[in-house]
Structure formats: structure tokens, C-alpha cells
Amino acid sequence: MSETFEPVIIGFTCNWCSYRAADLAGTARIKYPPNVRLIRLMCSGRLDPTFVMKAFANGADGVMITGCHPGECHYIEQNYKALRRYLLLRRVLAQMGIEPGRIKLVWASAAEGVRLAQEITTFVEDVRALGPLEWPDWKHKNGHHKTVESIALQEVTA
């Protein structure tokens, strides 16, 4: 590979903290690498591990999950659920051969634009060092056949 490897990173952000931190980083003109594609959720507790599996299965090299600091969740305690799921998910991914370094959980409040930008920068470099994941693009349907297929069918007939 002659060119520098640019990792694709999916970032799941919480509407009440980290998404606003990213927004703040933008308004304050703090730079962070464009490798991360941010997706806004209402809460880190909304993060279904399915999203992470799907990200890796569809070509992501790393996944970042961000939420409110412990004790500060807008929905009282859902960020703790995100924490537990993250710790469990990381174990499953390791068994599947996805290095724990490809997934990261970061707490960032709405005021921490600088910190979030730094965390993103560090994570991009960490994933870059791990190299491309290149999960196979399974030729047929992704995930649970029936659900995906019937949705596709509905779209065609609609």
C-alpha cells in the first residue's frame, strides 16, 4: 500500500452530550480527522450492538461509541447500560477476530468539544495502526435473511 491507509470509523453520538460536543468543536473551529462518520442517537443506551456488527460487516475499520459522563445521562442511567453492553460486545468481537482496539467508548459532555476532538484524533491513529479490517462483503443478504429480504421486497412493491 503506497498511500496512507485512511480508516473508516463510525461514531455513534448521544443527542444530549457528545453530538453537541462535536457541534461545539465545529463552531469553535477545532479540527478533527474526517475519518469519523458521526451518527446521532438519542442516547448511548439506544446503541443496539447490532449497529456495531453491521458497521464492521459493512466495511468500518473502527467504531466509536460516545455518551454522557457516568451519572449525567439525560435518561438517568442508560449510559451505564451502554457501558455494560460495550464491555460484553468487546469480548464477543475479540472472539470473532476483531481487535478490542477497534471499538472505543468515550464519555464527553456537551462542553467538551476539545476533548472529543482529541479522542477522535487518537482513535483514528490507533485504528490506522491496526490496519484495514476488510471484513468480507458477504455476497448475499446481510444479517437475518428474512427481515432484510422482506424489507427489500416491501420497498420494491411499494
Binding site: R85, Q95, T147
Partner: protein, 334 residues
């Protein structure tokens, strides 16, 4: 109706154990209805027929094919294509065909590791380290055996499937009700479910069928069921720290295992709306752990020594990731 006019029926086993066949025979006297209404043209476990007999049939001439087993090698895939061509209705029958099942757990290991386990462990006498060869020259001629794939696939990962019938194996009463339905359809008394439907099972979860009492779950330790001296017979097993897969598993079995005091291991596959079975269980288990401290959470999680085996015992080949890196990197991506 003469025997010649009866609609044709086939059943095939690919990478499977044969339990599905036993489950079909366990429908008892209903098997006579199958015989009365169908002409069995191909069923390797029950009758003698050759692949060439199937090849000789006109396309779409078999009305109903129950296909059990995953696609482990070249032969499985070839027969899947053959039966798809010859069948009007192809049913992924049982967990292996639907989602990979236990044979699909081999998707955690490389092809080399699988072959080593089969041919060179302490329990195998193989002093010359003999390995299968796909092409072997004998004095009588060249012998070929089907190529072993690095990743086991589900049936619908190689051919389109009309219906899914989950279970390891599908419960006999569910098979009997599907047989009844198909016979009614043949007589014009009922219509077929929509294409792609899951048949012979419920839509909800095993928890919905489980009579055990459920409260707010606060788990401080996971236990292996055999390590417990006392198990409350009326209380939710997950609540007692026994890793029960009921929350993500499709109902249809009648919650047999939890009623008998054993945790649900997930053989009926993902419930309706669940895209990745294991991910749904990670969500569920993550919710009920009673700790907010990372170190303590890790210690509780140590109680599930093999999380992938726990969450994907039946569903690995049908999951979003399908196979571990070790598996899909081994010897190409077939």
C-alpha cells in the same frame, strides 16, 4: 388419486446431525398422511435414491422439499442448487439450514484448525498425519471428494428459500401442523403463508411462553447451571444468574427447556424483528447486570466464559459477521 399423480416430496440432509429426520418420523401416524398425499422421490436417510434420479426429474417437478443442514462443502452446495431447480417450494428445515446451528460454530475456527481437530487430536490414531486430499490418484483412477469450505453457509446464503422452519430440531407437533396445512393447501382448503415466512413457530420470544415468574432483574453473578445446588423452580432463570437465551429466541417449542429447569440455549433462532441474534442478547444481558463499575462489570462478565458460544450457539453462520476472521481468512473465501 393414483400414485403417479401424487405431488412429489423430497427431504435432504447437508451438514446436519440427522435429528431433523428423527423429528419428522416423530410425527407418528401423521407420516401416513404424508405417504397418502405425497410421492416421496428423494430422501437419502429413508430410501434409496441417487442424485442422478433427481437430476432426471423435470424442473419444478417436486412440490415440497425440506432441506436440513448447512452448506459445509461443495457437495452440499451442488445439491442445494439441484433441489432448488427441481422444487416448487424449498423449505429451510431446522436450525442448520436456517442459521447454521452447531455445525456453524466451526465458523470460529480456521479450516486448518477444523481439519486438525478431526484428524489429529489425542483421541484419533493417525500416526502418519494423514489429511483428506480432494484429488487422489488410485490405480483404478482419480478419486475426488467434495471441497471443504472455510466458512459454513446457511441455505439461503446459496439459493433462494421459500420458507423457514426453525428449531433444533423442529418440534414434531409443529411439523405435524405444517404437514396438515400443506395437505389442506393441496385440497384447496387453505392458502400458503406469504413467501419468506417462518412457519411452524411463533413470532414472539420463549419468555412469552415461559411460565416462570419475572421481576426486575439485578444480576451480580452469572452461574453455570451445573454449579448451582438449588434452582428456584418458579423464578425466571436469568434472574437467578443462569444465562438463559429466552429473551431473543423465537417461541414455538413451548418453552420446553426453562419449564424443565434448563436455560434456553436458543435453538429456535431469532424472534421476529431480531436482525442479529447475539447482539440482541448482548443488549438484554447488558441491561440486567447490576453494576455501574467497569471492573465489577468485567468480573460479572467473567461468569460467561465463552460469550460467542453463549450468544451464537445456533446463529453464528446466520449472523451479521457470519464467521471469525480466522475462519474467513483461511484458504480463501469460498
Amino acid at each position: 388419486m393414483s400414485a403417479l399423480e401424487k405431488p412429489k416430496f423430497a427431504m435432504y440432509w447437508a451438514a446436519s446431525c440427522g435429528g431433523c429426520e428423527i423429528s419428522v418420523l416423530n410425527i407418528n401416524e401423521k407420516i401416513l398422511d404424508v405417504d397418502a398425499n405425497f410421492e416421496v422421490v428423494f430422501w437419502p436417510v429413508a430410501m434409496d435414491a441417487k442424485y442422478k434420479d433427481v437430476e432426471a426429474l423435470p424442473d419444478k417437478s417436486i412440490l415440497l422439499t425440506l432441506f436440513n443442514g448447512g452448506i459445509r462443502n461443495e457437495e452440499n452446495e451442488e445439491i442445494a442448487h439441484l433441489l432448488r431447480r427441481k422444487s416448487q417450494l424449498l423449505v429451510a428445515f431446522g436450525s442448520c439450514a436456517c442459521e447454521g446451528c452447531i455445525p456453524g460454530l466451526a465458523n470460529l475456527s480456521s479450516k486448518e484448525q477444523i481439519i486438525d481437530t478431526a484428524y489429529n487430536t489425542l483421541t484419533t490414531i493417525n500416526p502418519n498425519h494423514i489429511r483428506p486430499e480432494y484429488n487422489f490418484q488410485m490405480p483404478e483412477g482419480n478419486i475426488q471428494i467434495p471441497v471443504f469450505y472455510p466458512v459454513l453457509k446457511t441455505l439461503d446464503q446459496v439459493v433462494p428459500v421459500d420458507y423457514y422452519m426453525p428449531g433444533c430440531p423442529p418440534e414434531s407437533h409443529q411439523i405435524a401442523s405444517v404437514v396438515d396445512l400443506v395437505i389442506k393447501v393441496l385440497h384447496g382448503e387453505a392458502s400458503l403463508p406469504p413467501a419468506g415466512a417462518t412457519i411452524g413457530a411463533g413470532e414472539s420470544t420463549v419468555c412469552d411462553d415461559c411460565p416462570r415468574a419475572r421481576n426486575v432483574k439485578t444480576i451480580t453473578k452469572f452461574h453455570r447451571i451445573q454449579d448451582l445446588e438449588i434452582i428456584d423452580p418458579d423464578l425466571c432463570l436469568l434472574e437467578q444468574g443462569i444465562p438463559c437465551n429466552g429473551p431473543a429466541t423465537r417461541n414455538g417449542c413451548g418453552a420446553l427447556c426453562p419449564i424443565a429447569g434448563a436455560q434456553c440455549i436458543g435453538c429456535y433462532g431469532p424472534a421476529d424483528g431480531v436482525q442479529d441474534y447475539g447482539a440482541r442478547l448482548i443488549t438484554a444481558f447488558g441491561s440486567v447486570i447490576s453494576s455501574n463499575d467497569p471492573k465489577e462489570i468485567e468480573a460479572i462478565l467473567d461468569g460467561i466464559p465463552d460469550p460467542t458460544g453463549q450468544f451464537y450457539r445456533f446463529n453464528l453462520a446466520g449472523s451479521l459477521l457470519r464467521a471469525s476472521k480466522a475462519a474467513w481468512k483461511s484458504n480463501g473465501n469460498a
